[in-house]
Structures are given as C-alpha cells and as structure tokens.
C-alpha cells in the first residue's frame, strides 16, 4: 500500500515541480528579455509584474477549447498530451541528490534519448492534426531539426559514457565527486578522488570533454526548439509553428512541455558533464569544503542551482542571437557538430584505453 502511495506521490511531485518551475521560468524569461532589450518587461500585475504569469495561466485555463472544423480531432486532442507526457517521463530517471532518484535503472541515459524521439512524434501529430499549412510546415521543420540534432546529442553523450562506462545516471553522478567509487583523475593525470569539487566533474576528466559539452549544449538547444534554432515556430514566417491552432489549456500544456524540456536537457547536461549533485568547491588542505558541502540537501541545492543557471544561459542566448536560416541550421548540424562529435567519440575511446586504464 505504501509502495503504491509512493508510486502516485512521485509523479505528482514532479508535475508540481514542472508547473511551478514553468510559472517562474516564463516570468524570468520575460524579465531577461526586457533586460537584454533595454526595457522593463512585465510591470503591471503585482509588484514588478511578479503575478503576470499566474494571471496568464488563469486566463489560459478559462479559455474555451477550440478545435478547427476540418482538423483530425483525435490527433489534435492527443498531441499536447503526448508531447507533455514524453518530456514528463524523462524526469523519472533524473537523479536529484545522492541516491535520490525516482527510478534507479541501468538504462537511464538511454531511456532519456528514446523519450526525446517520442516528443518528435507528438509534434508531428500536432502539425498534421491541426490541418493548417503553417502548423504542418512548422512541425516538418521541427522534426527535420530534431531528428538531425539527435545525432550530435547522441554522439556527445556516447563520448561521455565511454569514459564513465555506465548508462546509470545515479552511478554517473556518484563518480564525479568525493563519494566516487572509482578512481577519477583531473585531465587523466591528477588523482582527484579525495579532493572533489569542480575538478572531479566529468567535463574535466579529459581535455576534449569541454568541446563535447559545448556540442551537447548547442545540440540540445536545437532539440528543444529554442532560439537561435527556433525556425519551427518562427513567428515572422509561420505564425506559431506547430501550435498555431492550439489555445487554452492545450496551449498551456505545450508551453509546459517546452519549459520542462529546457529544464530536462539542462539537468541532463549537469548530470552527465557538470558534476550532477556534487559540489563545485574542492577540499583544500584543512578546509574540507567538498566534504562539508556534500549531502542530501546540498545535493538537491547543487543540482537545482546548476540546472537553473543553464536555463538562464539558454534564455540569455535566445534573446541575444538572431535566428538561423534553415540551411545554416542543417550545415551547422551535419558539417560542424556531427564530425566534431565523432572526433570526440574517437578521442574518448583512445583516452579510455590508453590514459584511464
């Protein structure tokens, strides 16, 4: 009975987290946009406009659900659910703190990569079901982009996994700090197991991991259809892309899925490359900073703050860089990121054989 209760409680907790996170992220996004463009952003509702997103969500919840007359009604209704559920499922294998993970499975990382492809099906379903040319074009662009960018994401993750030798996200997280069960070395030379901190993160395990992380970051930015890779929903060309026809709570779910995806890929980057729940502070002589700042509550704090920082960087990039053209997008993916990722994978293989073991 208790088991069943936990099985219900955990998804509810994750959903609540996603909802609250989205509320604050939308507000943050608009404030950051205001800051970048030298204006104030939302200021009317509440102090400094802090209640703006709550007002927005209340408006969306009250709205009538409009289905276009000639739309494929089943697909149209199902699409937002599938898109959201796909991203939501991804959170089931993410470690928050030491051994604090909804499902501790040996295939965690692989599962997340598969989950992202279900998201693509949902977008295609939304585009086709709307029976609107802008929606269809938007979803076609989205799929072309997501399918292409899955390759650099996958390859950069393989490059990292070759060093960690496991797909279990909990194990990957554990082996990046003072609690590591294996020997870890900073750039393959300096044994770091008792020092911990920022030097023990996967990104510093080998010199090419920094490049791998940059590839991963750019490619995941495209996976979530964020600017500068937002041609699927380019407002100036396609109205709203695949979600043109959606309104009310369905639109709210698409929005929720987009922000949940941003957080999911940021968190995945944190877990694989940036030390997961491990502290960035190293042990320095008598100053055992790493030991002091490692623990259950600290773990949640570090995961959360690192992921939020990355979400912030994503927003900063969105409002700084102009949108890429479709051909530039494909060029970047196939001619720059994919070969680089292959190179990183090859270096990882050599590094594993010659340096680590």
């Amino acid at each position: 009975m208790l088991d069943l209760f936990i099985h219900i409680l955990v998804p509810v907790a994750i959903f609540t987290f996603i909802a609250i996170f989205t509320l604050f992220a939308v507000y943050a996004e608009r404030k950051i946009a205001g800051f970048v463009q030298d204006r104030l952003g939302p200021m009317e509702t509440g102090k400094y406009g802090s209640l703006q997103t709550i007002a927005d969500i209340l408006k969306l919840l009250q709205k009538e659900l409009i289905t276009p007359l000639l739309a494929d009604k089943i697909l149209f209704r199902l699409a937002p659910i599938i898109i959201f559920v796909a991203v939501f499922t991804g959170f089931s294998v993410m470690p928050w703190s030491q051994d604090f993970i909804p499902v501790n499975t040996h295939t965690g990382l692989f599962l997340i990569m598969a989950i992202v492809s279900i998201d693509a099906i949902g977008i295609l379903m939304a585009g086709w079901g709307s029976n609107n040319k802008f929606s269809l074009l938007g979803s076609m662009r989205a799929i072309a982009q997501m399918v292409s960018y899955e390759i650099p994401v996958g390859l950069s993750l393989i490059a990292a996994v070759m060093l960690t030798q496991t797909l279990n996200l909990n194990d990957i997280a554990t082996n990046q700090g003072v609690l590591a069960t294996e020997e870890i070395k900073f750039l393959g030379v300096w044994s770091i197991k008792n020092v911990g901190g920022i030097f023990a993160w996967n990104i510093f395990q080998a010199p090419h991991m920094i490049v791998t992380y940059i590839i991963f970051f750019i490619a995941t930015l495209a996976e979530c259809n964020r600017a500068p890779f937002d041609i699927p929903e380019a407002e100036s060309e396609l109205v709203g892309g695949f979600h043109t026809e959606y309104g009310g709570i369905q639109f709210a779910f698409l929005f929720l899925a987009e922000y949940a995806m941003m957080f999911l890929v940021s968190m995945l980057g944190v877990v694989i490359f940036l030390g997961a729940w491990n502290t960035p502070l190293p042990n320095m002589g008598a100053l055992k900073l790493a030991n002091w700042t490692t623990g259950f509550a600290w773990g949640i704090f570090w995961t959360f703050s690192k992921s939020l920082f990355l979400v912030g960087v994503q927003m900063w990039i969105r409002w700084t860089l102009p949108r890429l053209r479709a051909d530039q997008l494909m060029n970047l993916c196939w001619k720059v990121l994919t070969p680089l990722a292959f190179l990183c994978m090859a270096i990882s293989a050599i590094w594993r054989i010659l340096v680590i073991v």
Partner: protein, 182 residues
C-alpha cells in the same frame, strides 16, 4: 491479480488491438500514428522479458527513426497516389472467398499445432538455472552482459550487421545525391 500480470495483459491487448486497427483503418495518417502505440506496447512486452535494452532500442529506432520517416514519406507523397491506396474494398481480406478459405485453414492449423506442441511444464534448462541460482533478475546490469557478449561470442554477426548498415547508409546517400554529370 497482481499489477505485473495486469500490465502484461494490458500491453498485450494494446499491441494486438492496435495492430489490428493499423491494418484495418482507412485513414493512413491515423494508422501510422497508431503504429506508434503498437511499437510502444511491444516495448512494454520486451520489458517483461527483462530485455530493457531491447525495449528502449525499439522505441529509439522504430519510433524515433522509422516511424518518423514513414510519416514524412506519407506527408510528402502525391495526393492522387494516396487516394488510390486508400480505396480498399472494405472487407478485411480483399481476396475472393475460395482463396481466403485455405489461408484461414492454414493459420488455424498452425495455431492448433502450436497449442498441441506447447508444453505446460517448465523446461529443463529453466529448472537447472533456478537450482544453480543463475537466474537473471530485473535489477541485474544486463547491458554489461550484452556488451561482453557482443564483443566476444557474437562478434561476427555484430560486425556483419554493422557493415550491412554502413552499406545501407552509403546507398541512401548515393541515391539522394544530385547527379553531377548532367
């Protein structure tokens, strides 16, 4: 009835039911999206065979690759061509009755043969495995085993498949390339 058994039968019904719908639906777009449900339910059934890696690969390759390509091909193809395809006779089998009859009898024969041959008792290798405590549990690291097997016992089939996939890739890029000689 415990949850495992319930889930197994739920996935099985989902797989069979939606597979039947896929072949009988006239709306190709919906049939293709329903194919996703079939693949997903199949992945669920693989999980019950403790093949979690295969289950996720199924979703990744078939849903993320093959199904999206099918949908793309469908959406980009000619409308008249699709109309021709969609004009089915309405019955499940479009063959005349005298042809269908032997087909059905043949499948019935196979099913009856299967039921007769099916042994209810646990096979010998299973009982010895249980006795020797060499049973794979759901918490075991199956990927580790899989990797070792691929690189030792099954290295030749594994390499042959990779070469085959490489050939398919080269062929695809050759077909899609514009002819420069013209």
């Amino acid at each position: 009835m415990n949850v495992d058994l319930f889930l197994f039968y739920a996935f099985a019904t989902l797989a069979i039911g939606s597979a039947l719908l896929v072949v009988s639906l006239k709306n190709i777009a919906r049939a293709l999206f329903l194919f996703f449900v079939v693949l997903f339910a199949m992945a669920g059934l693989y999980l019950f065979a403790l093949a979690d890696f295969v289950a996720i690969t199924q979703i990744m390759v078939y849903v993320g690759g093959v199904l999206i390509l099918l949908l793309f091909a469908f959406m980009l193809s000619n409308k008249e061509l699709l109309n021709d395809l969609q004009q089915t006779t309405g019955s499940l089998f479009s063959l005349p009755t005298w042809k269908v009859l032997p087909l059905i009898l043949f499948f019935l024969g196979i099913m009856i043969y299967g039921i007769i041959e099916w042994q209810q008792s646990t096979p010998a290798w299973m009982t010895t495995a249980i006795q020797n405590n060499t049973v794979i549990k759901s918490t075991d690291n199956n990927i580790h085993q899989l990797g070792i097997k691929f690189m030792t016992q099954y290295v030749l089939p594994f390499e042959v498949i990779s070469i085959f996939l490489m050939m398919a890739l080269i062929g695809a890029s050759h077909l899609s390339r514009k002819d420069l000689q013209k």
